[in-house]
């Protein structure tokens, strides 16, 4: 079905997914050195 707000909804959906994913990963950024050390 074609919706008149479709382009806006697509942009908002992608923006939300991208921002939320970045925010989620960001909280673990401090663990990166420890994880890298574990993997070595």
């Amino acid at each position: 079905m074609k919706h008149r707000l479709a382009p806006l909804i697509i942009m908002a959906a992608w923006a939300w997914v991208a921002l939320a994913a970045l925010a989620y990963v960001h909280q673990f950024a401090g663990l990166a050195p420890t994880v890298m050390a574990l993997l070595r």
Partner: protein, 646 residues
Amino acid sequence: MTAAVLLFLILAVCGGGAALLAALGLSARLGRFEFLGWAFALGYGLLGWVMFPLAALGWLAPWQIAATCAVGLAGLPLLRRGGLAAPHAGGAPHADGAPWWRVAPLLLLLAGLMALDGVEALAPPADADSLAYHYALPRRMLEAGHLLFVERALDAASPQLTQMTLAAALALGGERAMTLWSMVSGWGIGLLVFGLARRHLPLDWSLALAAATLSLPAMLYAGGTGQVEPRTAMFLLVAAVASGRATRHDSVAWALAAALAAGFFAASKYTGLLPATVCFVILAARTRHWRPLAAYAAAGLAAAWQWYGWNWWNTGDPIFPMLFGHLPYAPGTAWSAEQARYMAESLMPMELGVPRSLGWLFAYPLSATFAGHPAFESGRTGLGPLAVLLAPLALGGAWVHRRRLTAQPLTWALVVVALCYLLWFFLGPSQRVRHLLPLVPVLLVVLAVAAHRLAATVSLGGATWAALAFALAVQAAGQGVFALKFVRPLLAGGDRDSFLAANVNYYELAQWLNHDLGPATKILLPVREIDYLVTRPIFHANRYVQSVVDLRPEADDPERFLRQLRRQNVDVVVAGPASGFAGGGETPERLSRALVAAGCASGPQEVVTASAIPSRTLGGRTTEKDRFHIYRISHEPCFLDRPAAG
């Protein structure tokens, strides 16, 4: 032998559950995999339920447990005649085509996740809570040969249904059967999610949701251990979905299924009383007949009563010790007002990170996903990003289909989840995010269904799949890192002792107690992590949650301390670790020194261990040592052995 025991338990549980579903007349009203998942969940609950009377009668010999489980095998033919043989039962699975290039990687991912779970299950148990009680209590009961009542709040004098299934596995196949049973019962929720999703979603979405559920950080932490939440998640899904369907069909059968599942949840944990109440309220609000309500109440009580009755029988309080001061306690119950106050004042600040306000009710899920308070423990045992990623898309889907929402059983399943969250937030004893794990699988399915409906109306350009792919990638990476500590010792051929020394706090103390003390020596042990690993009789001396031996910082009467030790037949007191002396852990040390000064004990002897482990996954142990002091209580009457009250 271990594999045979595992297969036997799986078949017995599925058979028992299939028989229950057939008796309810629901076999043909569930989808193919849904039926299998529900059979496993209800059969699992039935196994834990049946183990209670066996333990109460002292019938805990392996052959007695095996013979009882074998009855469940009689239900296996019903699996063929139920949803398994009727793929279109309960509505056709979602028919949208799923491209092989999405299905195949998802199947591989699931296989990989389950293989890593398998490696974890082959390692000795190392989770602190499991070693302290989930595995320790079943072991102690099997040693005693009968049901035990341990007067310890929250973790021992509490509902124990899931632990009783562990007792069955331990009795039949030993420790490895128990850890493998933990793994299999942790997979149950993945099967249930897949079965529920297949009613509403294509195959690839359903597989992705199952993989996302099994790799949730909280599942990584708890799935392969004795922790309760991955198991009660099965009960909650069945209870919420069955309640939702009962609202549409006015069906006694759905109400009974909901009641059994909710009752099994309540028999596994006090917080199970919340969903049991919520499901009843939803039924009462939506059905027009008294029969489903009466059926729900009767079946729920039958499923849940055992451990509340056991608590009441031993203490006078069915939800010990929460009704202290409101109900008359049985003579000999050691709980006191001072202990209740100390427990509340000590544990509450540890468990509650933010105020119980309306604002935090809505902010908590976001905070616990993106930047949790330490009390949430969301960094490493959280609920993953998928729910938050899908939520706005799901709201869009709900808006598009807003006129049909109330007629959807899934909507009512979501209402159950929402009300449970509301009650948990305001009434629950803890804000640890992993305690919410039982609510998440249903939530994920509902959000995914709603997001999928939006994507079917407005092309989202793959944003929903991007969310799923991101969540799966992050969680799978997390599981990979988590599994390192199990994979490396397996590949290196390390032994049990070296694994436990690397992963369990104070394991050297357990070794010392097992090697240097006689087999009948009873030990007062203030550190909980090694309960399961100590082969000698112990008194688990958690100062917060028991007052059988009063170890609060205020306890200062050596005469009373000695009297309490004598009542428990304690021969040896362990005091420590020295690092805990500044935080209220000094009481056994102080009182034991007073016993030595009075000639009632000898010691101390020092045992040195490695320091505690900040994180089993990430390590971080320092080179510092912890010290324990061992005091031996004199068996001869001494100066302090005067008859006295109290």
